[in-house]
């Protein structure tokens, strides 16, 4: 029985660099629109999972907002997915720390489950072909420089014809 219980509890396979990014379609905060990852195919996409209760996110959101301005909108996009169970908490956080990039709501956490996050915050850098190229768990302001190098490399690479 112990073995059966353990088997039943086996988590979904984590999304590692080199794997295709799981698709998602979520409601945005600032509009009634649904945004899907597939809409961004052809761009380098930085998917950031955050929550109002995650203290490193107080630092990361403003820094990511600055990072966004370093790249052309046609090359690079940030999709920040809030995992707050109460969407009002996330809205209050965004009012306090406003960002210009797309912020999405996932109170059910099913997208977090699909990516099988190992910590908060977690972020994924996805190339123009929809393949995860880097995964970051946790955040420190000094991480921005390494992230910028990774994005530079991916932005420079053209998309493969598919």
């Amino acid at each position: 029985m112990a073995v059966a219980l353990l088997a039943a509890a086996a988590p979904a396979l984590a999304v590692e660099p080199g794997a295709a990014a799981p698709g998602f379609r979520l409601a945005a905060f600032d509009s009634a629109q649904q945004v899907s990852l597939a809409d961004y195919r052809g761009k380098v996409v930085f998917v950031d999972f955050w929550a109002s209760w995650c203290s490193p996110c107080r630092q990361s959101l403003p820094l990511y907002d600055k990072l966004r301005t370093d790249y052309a909108a046609g090359d690079f996009a940030i999709l920040a997915i809030s995992l707050d169970e109460d969407v009002a908490d996330a809205k209050a956080f965004l009012a306090e720390h406003p960002v210009k990039y797309t912020t999405l709501q996932n109170p059910q956490g099913d997208v977090a489950k699909a990516f099988d996050l190992k910590g908060m915050p977690s972020s994924y850098l996805i190339d123009r072909d929809g393949v995860v190229r880097a995964r970051h768990i946790g955040f420190e302001p000094k991480d921005i420089d390494a992230l910028k190098k990774e994005i530079d490399g991916l932005v420079a690479a053209p998309a493969h014809a598919s």
Partner: protein, 79 residues
């Protein structure tokens, strides 16, 4: 002989129970993205850090010791 067998059985039974209970923990671990409720200020051991620090200070002043509450070492009152 009989005593030894009974002891073995008891040990095996305890092992089985322990393993089963362990598996029970694995069925619904709190995922990283589900910690919002746990991160609430009123879920903290000491919701008010200032009040907790004052209470701690009063406690070790009365006891004449330092480090009696959670700190490493202590008891000698020398730190």
């Amino acid at each position: 002989m009989a005593w030894s067998r009974r002891r073995h059985m008891r040990r095996n039974l305890l092992l089985l129970i322990a393993l089963t209970l362990l598996a029970g923990c694995a069925t619904s671990p709190v995922q990283p993205w589900e910690r919002g409720r746990l991160a609430r200020w009123d879920m903290r051991w000491d919701p008010d850090p200032l009040k907790a620090a004052m209470a701690e200070h009063a406690h070790f002043s009365k006891e004449g010791t330092a480090g009696t509450i959670g700190a490493a070492g202590g008891g000698c009152g020398c730190n």
